[in-house]
């Protein structure tokens, strides 16, 4: 069943068009990876889905219902959580306060306790740092906090914008393992990445975005083997050698 569906979505920043009629579908329970170069419009898609940006054209359906006119804060109550690019944690709030704020729409004691337990199980380091200010965490811990915070909303659909950015290969593996676990527990993931190796490894399906248009899509394994993807996003000149999904992506 389709959980999220973008139909001919167009978005512009002032006079600059960033998305040109994007169609995209994410089914319940899937991990979908969205690949693309810098400036392709990946973050714009996520911002459009979480209603941080107005649509210029097209529509966005959540569980079959249009959310075109829904304000961003109401989307959280509908089960969409967005981990923005650059993490967006609140630096002066403690880890605990960052997590607590995300329960704004779900304050029942049972939900808060269960969600907190789940986040601390996925990211034990956050439990150790619960009284520390968010701004004093390391980059990897901040990313964990951003993901943990999104889970506190009780989301069905988790939007992740370049979660591997700035992390060491070891940490990337750690958070991606958490993503697989989160997915196995029933949450649908739309993952934006430049790290195509990892993103395609854990995804069911993938799409490639170029200049605000979807140019390729398909099952993740198929995409990983596609010459265009191998050349442009897996860094394999000539694309003749077989893909080696075991190696971590080029980290910056």
């Amino acid at each position: 069943m389709s959980l999220l569906r973008l139909e001919q979505v167009s978005v512009a920043y002032g006079a600059i068009r960033a998305l040109h009629g994007v169609d995209l579908e994410v089914r319940e329970g899937e991990i979908v990876s969205l690949l693309g170069a810098n400036g392709a419009g990946k973050s714009t898609i996520l911002r459009a889905v979480s209603r941080m940006l107005p649509l210029q054209g097209g529509d966005i359906l959540l569980g079959g219902r249009s959310v075109r006119a829904t304000p961003a804060h109401e989307l959280v109550a509908l089960g969409v959580a967005h981990v923005p690019e650059g993490r967006g944690i609140f630096p002066s709030l403690t880890v605990q306060e960052n997590l607590a704020l995300a329960t704004w729409t779900r304050r029942e004691r049972r939900h808060v306790e269960e969600a907190t337990r789940r986040v601390f199980r996925l990211f034990p380091r956050l439990a150790e740092r619960r009284t520390q200010a968010g701004g004093t965490l390391s980059g990897g811990e901040q990313q964990m906090l951003a993901v943990g915070r999104a889970l506190m909303t009780g989301c069905r659909l988790l939007l992740l914008d370049e979660p591997s950015m700035g992390l060491s290969p070891l940490l990337v593996r750690e958070v991606f393992r958490a993503f697989q676990e989160i997915n196995a527990e029933g949450t649908t993931l739309l993952l934006v990445e430049q790290n195509a190796h990892m993103a395609l490894k854990i995804a069911h399906r993938g799409c490639v975005l170029e200049n605000g248009r979807i140019v390729l899509e398909g099952p993740a394994a198929e995409l990983a083997g596609h010459p265009r993807v191998r050349e442009a996003y897996l860094g394999e000149a000539g694309a003749s050698s077989p893909p080696c999904p075991g190696t971590p992506g080029s980290s910056r």
Partner: protein, 296 residues
């Protein structure tokens, strides 16, 4: 020695009023990075709301009158944000500042037209009898009204601190101060948090106005002078910081009162503004302010 204690007591009363105003400057700056130059006039309107209520309902005790004045002024603060500031939130800073100045002038003239330009005083609803045991202990004159003003103000500040640091609403207010663009992603209605911030800041200013109107006097332009003082206090303490606003207020009132008592009342403002400049040279972001954010 007695006179110093007496002066410090006066300073505590004045500082309490400054703090009630300064908190609004600081809170509003915290959430939308606006120096709300109409805030001094909101304080003035709060005082006049207390006056009109006191004249109209002569039977009403202070504990009912003050919350009512606070409520009315809170609604005014919310209305100002909704009508004048909200649509300018993405505009240039200067447009917002000029709008705030305009709102202030509007309020001054509205009150002058409605109530008249005369200096008024709220008929006291507080016992002005001396506090015998405290007088004996300190050896200076202490009256109940002064003590009430100081302690009720401190209680309001403590209540505010608890809201900001111990509730989810307060967490949301601090989150808005950190990064307001991310706040909606937490499911929080940003506009509502900002409106509540204006409501709380305006209500506190109204409490200050009601106290000031009883302890001193009211006139439609009093918000200018007192607004500036409270603004200075907020900046000295570190704008955006609640503790800073309170600290700066008592510090400024202390300096002022002692200057008047021991030097000259003509020097009062000169010293207050001089202190601001001096302190900001040493602590550019105020005594308890956060240094200019080093965002990654």
């Amino acid at each position: 020695m007695e006179t110093v204690v007496q002066q410090l007591l006066n300073a505590a009363q004045l500082g309490a009023v400054y703090a009630l105003i300064a908190l609004g400057y600081s809170m509003v700056y915290g959430v939308i990075r606006l120096i709300n130059f109409a805030h001094g006039d909101i304080f003035m309107v709060g005082g006049f709301a207390g006056l009109l209520l006191a004249l109209r309902f002569t039977w009403m005790p202070l504990w009912a009158l003050m919350p009512l004045a606070m409520l009315l002024t809170a609604l005014l603060g919310v209305a100002i944000e909704r009508v004048a500031y909200r649509r300018l939130r993405q505009a240039q800073r200067m447009s917002l500042v000029i709008t705030a100045l305009g709102v202030g002038i509007f309020l001054e003239n509205l009150v002058r037209l409605g109530v008249g330009p005369e200096t008024r005083q709220i008929p006291s609803r507080m016992p002005t009898t001396p506090v015998a045991w405290l007088q004996d202990a300190l050896g200076v004159s202490v009256t109940w009204d002064k003590l009430l003003i100081i302690f009720v103000s401190l209680a309001l500040m403590a209540l505010l601190w608890a809201v900001v640091h111990r509730t989810l609403l307060g967490t949301a207010m601090r989150a808005v101060a950190d990064d307001k663009d991310v706040v909606p992603l937490m499911g929080v209605n940003l506009n509502r948090v900002i409106a509540v911030t204006f409501a709380i800041g305006s209500a506190l200013a109204a409490a200050g106005g009601v106290f000031f109107g009883q302890a001193y006097s009211l006139d439609p332009y009093m918000g200018i002078d007192l607004g500036w003082k409270a603004f200075i206090a907020a900046v000295i303490g570190g704008i955006g910081s609640i503790e800073g606003a309170v600290l700066g207020s008592f510090l400024l009132a202390g300096v002022e009162v002692l200057t008047v008592a021991y030097l000259s009342s003509n020097l009062k403002n000169g010293i207050a503004f001089g202190l601001l400049i001096l302190l900001l040279l040493i602590w550019p972001s105020g005594l308890l302010g956060r240094p200019a954010s080093k965002k990654v």
